[in-house]
Subunit: 576 residues, 2 copies
């Protein structure tokens, strides 16, 4: 039960001493959540109040089902951008339809996450490699920063997800820049950046929000043309069933899948990062997936758009020492109070202030140092990063990450389809057998023996490469060759395609009068050999732990001791 | 030059003695090619004469560019089915448009193959694993057999690529079965099957064709309602430029890509199979891809639909001892003679005879034995086979193979994301360190040492699994644990994501006061360690060849000899 309802776990262990810490952390995050929520809703192309709706029910649901007390669930910049990118191309007929689409998308994303969690598919997120994530995030951050220029300039710059269109449109809008909007935004950026540098623990964002509201109210900035957040409907979000039909599923699935994976990736990597720091081990990857899924699904019934864990709010929860998921409930309470009583105050918040918050927060996500280090150390992965970055900037956000994942999988497959294949010879004065390419000057070379090592699993993707290499080196050894020894220690698996290849290869060697020995076969490999027809061409007596033992056997010098036999021939498969 | 024009190779070595063998082989294949070509064109939904057109120019082009003298190029059953499946859903307005589409498809397929060949992407075909191929071929063979029922019954059964529709339609057509058509087809099947069993080398197909033509002519079967091949336009195919526009490319790419890969796969696996038997090594995988591509491209200018190597004709070329690609030119000459002079004869060939040839040839491709052996030995791969089989039968031919490939890649990725992770302990009385799960009764267990082996490359897909396992076992060892030894022999690669994980993991162990040693690191791994920041946490003195040496070092008993040091610390990277 506790696995599926982590609330039972933390609630049963809750003590009075925990409450003050949870209260402090929950309040701090709640106060940050309100302006952030409104700002991120703007990125998603939604009215600011929907950022508050998304900051309410998802938090409550996560408090019950989540396994981390440090994850600050709610709207985040990256996912908001993905929502905008995905819904932008659907051509909604107006703001109302756009909102309904965003809510339906949240339900869809949540369902995907929940089902993947039930199927224990959390491991899939591992296939988002660091270069892909970094390239994607840097590109998305650039797009977000540029997309906020319209609020900073106080002008109408047409939306776009493509960098060149954004830049061109921004230049076209330069003559219309509103001085007051721009000044407010610029000062906002300055304050947040300088506060971060000088007093890192000071809530710069809150200060900017308060100053913005005050100055708008006092100086009647609305009359001077400054764009304010304006009237926010008062009251809690109403219940309504999200309208997700088959037609929408067909249209939305690429963006929903991307959001489900990216959202989960953000949550799980933030959660793991914090656990690393705090030396904890409570995070359950699949339960997190289910919890996020339920948060999105339930949230969508109360007008929430897709949410996940926010980096800044999670860090704040950790720094202020949250003791349990109760802190999330307290943050939710702050949002409730805001929605019930404070919306008239936020009427006066200039949109340029929200833009300044977004721009500073998001700009820091652009990671040049990592790209540079890859350039020097891993040229192939650098190009994966660059490819993802450019595709995201110029083609599209979903396409960028999907093609990035495909590229990094292809790179990995290409690597496994051409693994390292080494010819080994004896290092004089030792019983080591090592690569001739690295130690030739110290080696004793034998013409009658070919000793090779294949450094990967043998599967359909590389078994023809194995065969080609083996016969190439056998040919190089020439007619003196009498036996082949395969150091199989790195071979952790042989699939059926490769088993057939290996069977034919060994048979062919035997037809040519050459013996075939295997050394260092690990347990799973021995099981595979003894349970397939490979045992017909690899008798137990041809298995050894070390190369030196196989060579001694071939030379007729030594036979194995009982324990050596046992170690080299053990198998768990019955009937052997 | 010879690499791109293999004709220069075989022509320069050609002797007079080769000619009689080439003539014999070329004539035999040519005589088989004519009825097969017409039959396969029927599978593709084309008039029979297009099978002859496809048996002409592609052969000539392959003779110049191909690297195997034993590949019988031309129309084949599987690809013809794929053509029918791919074009069927496009809804051509009539037979003329359908023919133009098939020819445009040949050009498209050829271009894909040629470009992939130039890019040396032949290795991609390795990702079609045996279970996927077997499941796909069995399903396609079933569909082909059922699709020929209409010719065997002499009725109009609506076309379909889905098994249940085919079966339902066949049952509906039962009342209309034409007795003569059915008898002719049934006798044809009997003759071919019995001849194969009793006199394997007798050309049963030719006999059935001759008997069919004679009886149709002598008994005037056309008047009795038997469906004949009918009038075939006399003369060689005319030149015309295939009409492949952007619109078609968008519609045709899935089927074109499938055909390009399947066609190449058939050619390369037949070619390799024959080379295995004949102990040759001339086949150049990428040149074959280019040669097939050129055959399809050039062929399409002379009204050929997609072609590849035929299993039966290639076997016949090999059996009759073809000496060079000249045999292909001779087969082409047989087709030319047929087109110029013999079409009036084939007027009398009953379609039921062609159906009987197809049904027998294709039925043998259904491989139940392999599926059964997978069921007992590799349950996971069996389900890949079954999935591909069922998807191909019930969803669609292209979908079947594409999803099959994806499934087998996912299985492989799942395997690499959860590799074998073993805890090792010393086997008493030896210097072996082996898995505690297999040898616990013979082992000497130490509480202060954790020795582990990770049996795969460390990359983004499995590095969090590695970390989780390592700390799990470290926790089990308890507070007595003082050092961790990683047997890295199976780790052939560490990507940047995993390097970062490893750096953090080792740092964390060090913070806890635990030492970290690596044993058996292969050359490429040492290079990676010494060229990354991993060298900060893995000093050279912590690298060993064998576990026993690391343990001795940890115990303070022994230090390494100069050669041991050299072997364990060698790297090719400069500056180390």
């Amino acid at each position: 039960m506790q696995r599926y309802f982590p609330v039972l776990d933390w609630l049963s262990r809750y003590t009075k001493a925990d409450f003050p810490r949870d209260l402090g952390a929950g309040l701090s995050v709640g106060i940050l959540l309100v302006p952030q929520g409104m700002a991120y809703a703007m990125i998603a192309g939604l009215p600011p109040v929907y950022g508050l709706y998304a900051s309410l029910f998802p938090l409550l649901v996560y408090a019950f089902f989540g396994t981390s007390r440090h994850l600050g669930i709610g709207p985040v910049a990256m996912d908001s951008l993905l929502v905008a990118a995905g819904l932008g191309i659907l051509g909604a007929s107006g703001p109302e339809e756009y909102i309904l689409l965003a809510i339906a998308l949240a339900f869809f994303v949540g369902s995907i996450q929940f089902v993947l969690g039930l199927l224990r598919m959390g491991f899939l997120v591992n296939f988002l490699s660091r270069p892909v994530i970094s390239g994607f995030i840097s590109a998305a951050a650039l797009i977000i920063v540029l997309s906020q220029l319209k609020h900073l300039f106080g002008t109408n710059i047409p939306e776009s997800n493509r960098i060149y269109e954004l830049i061109i449109n921004a230049f076209k809008a330069l003559p219309d820049v509103q001085l007051f909007d721009f000044l407010i935004g610029f000062v906002g950026i300055l304050i947040i950046v300088l506060m971060r540098r000088w007093i890192p623990r000071f809530p710069g964002i809150l200060l900017v929000v308060v100053l913005g509201i005050l100055s708008a109210f006092v100086f009647d900035l609305e009359a001077r043309g400054v764009r304010l957040v304006g009237a926010i409907p008062m009251g809690l979000p109403s219940f309504s069933v999200p309208d997700l039909n088959v037609d929408l599923v067909v249209k939305l699935w690429p963006i929903a899948l991307t959001l489900a994976m990216i959202g989960y990736l953000e949550a799980i990597s933030i959660g793991k990062g914090i656990e690393d720091k705090s030396n904890e081990d409570r995070l359950d990857a699949n339960q997190e997936l289910r919890a996020l899924g339920l948060s999105n699904m339930f949230g969508s019934f109360f007008q929430s758009y897709p949410v996940t864990a926010s980096f800044s709010r999670s860090a704040l929860l950790y720094d202020s020492g949250a003791r349990s998921n109760l802190s999330g409930l307290i943050s939710g309470a702050v949002v409730v109070v805001t929605l019930l009583f404070l919306t008239p105050v936020f009427y006066y918040l200039p949109k340029a202030v929200l833009a300044s918050i977004i721009m500073v927060t998001v700009f820091r996500l652009i990671d040049v140092a990592y790209a540079r280090s890859l350039w020097f150390r891993r040229r192939d992965e650098f190009f994966i990063l660059l490819g993802t970055f450019l595709l995201t900037l110029f083609i599209g956000i979903t396409e960028g990450i999907l093609i990035g994942v495909l590229l990094s999988l292809l790179l990995m497959l290409h690597r496994t389809s051409n693994p390292h294949f080494a010819v080994l010879e004896n290092i004089k004065g030792t019983d080591y057998y090592r690569n001739v390419d690295r130690f030739s000057e110290d080696q004793h070379v034998r013409a009658d023996l070919l000793i090779v090592r294949f450094d990967d699993q043998l599967y359909f993707g590389n078994c023809s490469f194995f065969k080609k290499q083996l016969f190439k080196y056998a040919k190089e050894k020439g007619p003196a060759l009498k036996a082949v020894i395969l150091n199989a220690e790195p071979i952790n698996y042989i699939d059926s395609t490769a088993a057939k290849m290996l069977y034919k290869t060994i048979s062919k060697l035997k037809d040519e009068g050459k013996e075939f020995y295997i050394t260092g076969a690990i347990g799973p490999l021995r099981d595979i050999i003894f349970s397939s027809n490979l045992k017909e061409v690899i008798p137990k007596t041809h298995l050894f732990v070390r190369i030196v033992e196989a060579v001694a056997f071939y030379d007729g010098k030594e036979s194995l001791s009982p324990i050596q036999k046992k170690v080299s021939q053990q198998t768990k498969r019955p009937g052997n």
